[in-house]
Amino acid sequence: MSRVATLKINGQDVSGREDETILEVARENGIPIPTLCQIEGLSNVGACRMCLVEVAGISKLLPACTTRVAEGMDVRTESERLTHYRRMAVEMLFAEGNHICSVCVSNGHCELQGMAVALGIDHIHLPYLAPRRGVDASHERFTFDANRCILCTRCVRVCDEIEGAHTWDVMGRGVGSVVITDLNERWGDSPTCTSCGKCVQTCPTGALFIKGSAVGEMTKRNTFLTYIAQMRGNLK
């Protein structure tokens, strides 16, 4: 049994078990913290840095999704500085890939696009990288468009942790990183993929979608994740 800690989030007194993260306790108390790589039901990797928060007495910003609460913590989830950094991170994603929302299957239902709206981003002031990336449409039912991938690795985790197929993984370094199926083979030829579609439904953007979706038609349904995780007892 974990002990209970009392702490402050944005000045509000809250309590949480010491094996809970700041994000979990914040959400229980209706305090929103923006997230992208995190999704309930999968392991947390702390990669996107959207959920960074300030903790009094610690000079570094800490990711709420992987940092556990502790007695007496004093957490701030909103500040001018945090908003500025979050905006820049989202701008970076737009500048990193090739996001043409107007012709995207996920237009209107995309978590990245939504994050830009929530943070009031009306243009990208960082340099666009315009990388040359491919599309894998070899799978019978799904398509992977790397131009829209934000490398959140949700697909990697859901395929490994929930479906148990581990078809996806990350290859390369830096801005050259890409998610790949099997040993960088065509998805359609994958002997490991069960075509369950979990990666598609978990992907926050239009990078993974069901074939035949037209602009704005691809809505994602990922409630199964919480359900499965609960059934397996993975969720606290």
């Binding site: 990797v45 702390g46 990669a47 996107c48 840095r49 960074l52 570094k60 910003l61 990711p63 992987t66 940092t67 556990r68 500025h84 950094y85 820049m88 991170a89 970076m92 994603l93 500048a95 990193e96 002031h125 960082l126 340099p127 990288l129 934000i150 490398l151 993984d169 990350v170 390369g172 370094r173 830096g174 801005v175 050259g176 990183s177």
Partner: protein, 548 residues
């Protein structure tokens, strides 16, 4: 092996060595090997046989002498003559002069400041030992400290000694070694690991490589003491595969130590057992970061993960793990042999001991040096390093590699310690020291390091993955004279964001070379942007008005 056996083995070996009136030791460090020092050994051996003096004279392989730029180096003992720039053709004259005056033309002046101003703790054997012979190491007193600790001291005693010595981690940050050891010692769990971080990914750094190649036994002994102190039963030396000689020698050293039962079960008849092994890294800079290194040993993709939990609490396979740098481990034996007080007497108030640096760039004596903490940059560069060649002017010195910064002339008299370096916007780092003269362009230098960080970023977190690429683009644009002043603003904004939001030290420190050059050489950036010129004449300025 028990203490008595070790002692008599050392005696025996010393006597065997003393039989030889002359011992010729040829450097087989990387630089000298590249300059054919193996051929020199063959030639010397041939002459010794030819002259029929193999009963009186032995030729052996040794380690780096530090002055690699003057290599290949050959030493003669016990007269302590050091020869430089030796070729196989010199073998005869060296052997024939053993009984008379040394060969003048080849003699290296060991009373020069390069040698006298150094303070050798890590490199105390000065390349005399044969790195492939455990007997040589034992003859020099090796493993006696470990065996004494094992039979006479407690884990707590050892950690207390380390605490009193004030040793800080040499992997870059100077984190208290004793604090780390005691955290692992106290951590719950019966399975614990020790890891030696020999990844050394900084461009231009070769300190750890040299220590592993020349003193593999000393590094192992340090690890063995650490394992005893924290209660670990298994350990790994993580070495990049680009260091085949270090890998070979460490593996050899482990096998030899096992043969002498210095590794294995119930060492010296105590309850302490330890297994050590070598693991190869594929040469990713980020795999030097401790959590990425651990992932790599576990067979996973070498990506860092957020800390806490720190490896001391949850490391290799989720077990408490001690991870220290090569040089940190190499300091352990001298500390416990000579005493914490002795060690604490070297260095400054807050930075104890010595630091090994790989001196390179625009400097007369490039090579490997070890200096006491607190020595000034000026002494290192001008006394030990011999100053700037070709009559050029000093411009800046870069420490800490891609995570560090450029220090300008006005700080040359600053003491070299963790705190002072941080104050001027650089870091101690693992020991790379690149001297630059007026022919270096600071924008170009910043661009070089940013390119390195960009290509070495693991790609996991957004700020480092994308930010380094964007900073690189901007630096490239500036260096080509195509940037606008707004680009400089964006560059500074990126520096701030990447520094404060990246997941691991790679991203957090990636902006440092830019920040420090902006701090001291801003006018050079402005010259590129406003006047479209590179003052040092390094960058190729694009002349079309706006290359879109």
């Amino acid at each position: 092996m028990n203490p008595e056996e070790l002692h008599s083995l050392a005696e025996e070996r010393r006597e065997a060595l003393d039989q030889f009136q002359h011992r010729v030791v040829v450097c087989t460090g990387t630089a000298c090997q590249a300059a054919q020092s193996r051929k020199i050994i063959e030639a010397l051996d041939g002459i010794v046989k030819e002259r029929g003096i193999n009963g009186r004279c032995t030729v052996s392989a040794g380690g780096c002498r530090g002055l690699c730029s003057a290599g290949p180096m050959v030493a003669v003992e016990p007269t302590d003559v050091l020869y430089q720039g030796v070729t196989p053709d010199d073998a005869a004259s060296i052997i024939d002069s053993l009984e008379s005056e040394p060969v003048k033309a080849l003699t290296c002046d060991t009373s020069a400041p390069f040698f006298t101003r150094q303070k050798r703790v890590v490199l105390e054997y000065e390349g005399r030992l044969n790195p492939e012979s455990i007997d040589d190491y034992i003859a020099a007193g090796g493993f006696s400290t470990f065996v004494r600790i094992l039979t006479e001291m407690t884990s707590g005693d050892v950690i207390e000694q380390i605490r009193q010595s004030g040793l800080g981690g040499r992997g870059g940050a100077g984190y208290s070694t004793a604090l780390k050891w005691s955290t692992v010692a106290k951590a719950l769990g019966t399975t614990k690991y020790v890891i030696c971080n020999g990844d050394e990914g900084d461009p231009g750094a070769f300190m750890d490589r040299s220590v592993m190649e020349d003193y593999p036994f000393k590094v192992l002994e340090g690890m063995m003491i650490a394992a005893f102190a924290v209660g670990a039963q298994e350990g790994f030396v993580y070495v990049r595969a680009e260091y085949p000689l270090a890998v070979k020698r460490l593996k050899q050293a482990i096998r030899q130590a096992e043969k002498y039962s210095l590794l294995g079960n119930n060492i010296c008849g105590t309850s302490f057992s330890l297994k050590l092994d070598v693991r190869l890294g594929a040469g990713a800079f980020v795999c030097g970061e401790e959590t990425a290194l651990i992932a790599s040993i576990e067979g996973k993709r070498g990506s860092p993960r957020p800390r806490p939990p720190y490896p001391a609490e949850s490391g290799l396979w989720g077990c408490p793990t001690l991870i220290n740098n090569v040089e940190t481990y190499a300091n352990v034996v001298p500390i416990l042999r000579e005493g914490a007080e002795w060690f604490a007497g070297i260095g400054t108030e807050r930075s104890k001991g010595t630091k090994v640096f790989a001196l390179s760039g625009a400097i007369v004596n490039t090579g490997l040096i070890e200096v006491p903490m607190g020595i000034s940059l000026r002494e290192i560069i001008y006394d030990i390093g011999g100053g700037i060649p070709n009559g050029r002017r000093f411009k800046a010195v870069q420490t800490g590699g891609p995570s560090g910064g450029c220090i300008p002339e006005q700080y040359l008299d600053m003491p070299v310690d963790y705190q002072s370096l941080a104050q001027v916007g650089s870091i101690m780092g693992s020991g790379g020291m690149i001297v630059m003269d007026e022919s270096s362009c600071m924008v170009d230098v910043a661009k070089f390091f940013m390119e390195f960080c960009m290509t070495e970023s693991c790609g996991k977190c957004i700020p480092c993955r994308v930010g380094t690429a964007q900073m690189y683009r901007l630096l490239d644009k500036i260096s080509q004279g195509r940037a606008r002043l707004q680009d400089l603003e964006v560059l500074e904004e990126l520096c701030d964001m990447v520094k404060h939001t990246s997941l691991c030290g790679l991203g957090q420190a990636a902006p440092n070379p830019v920040l420090s050059t902006l701090r001291y050489f801003r006018e050079e950036y402005l010259a590129h942007i406003v006047d479209h010129v590179c003052p040092a004449g390094v960058c190729k300025i694009a002349h079309e008005e706006i290359a879109l």
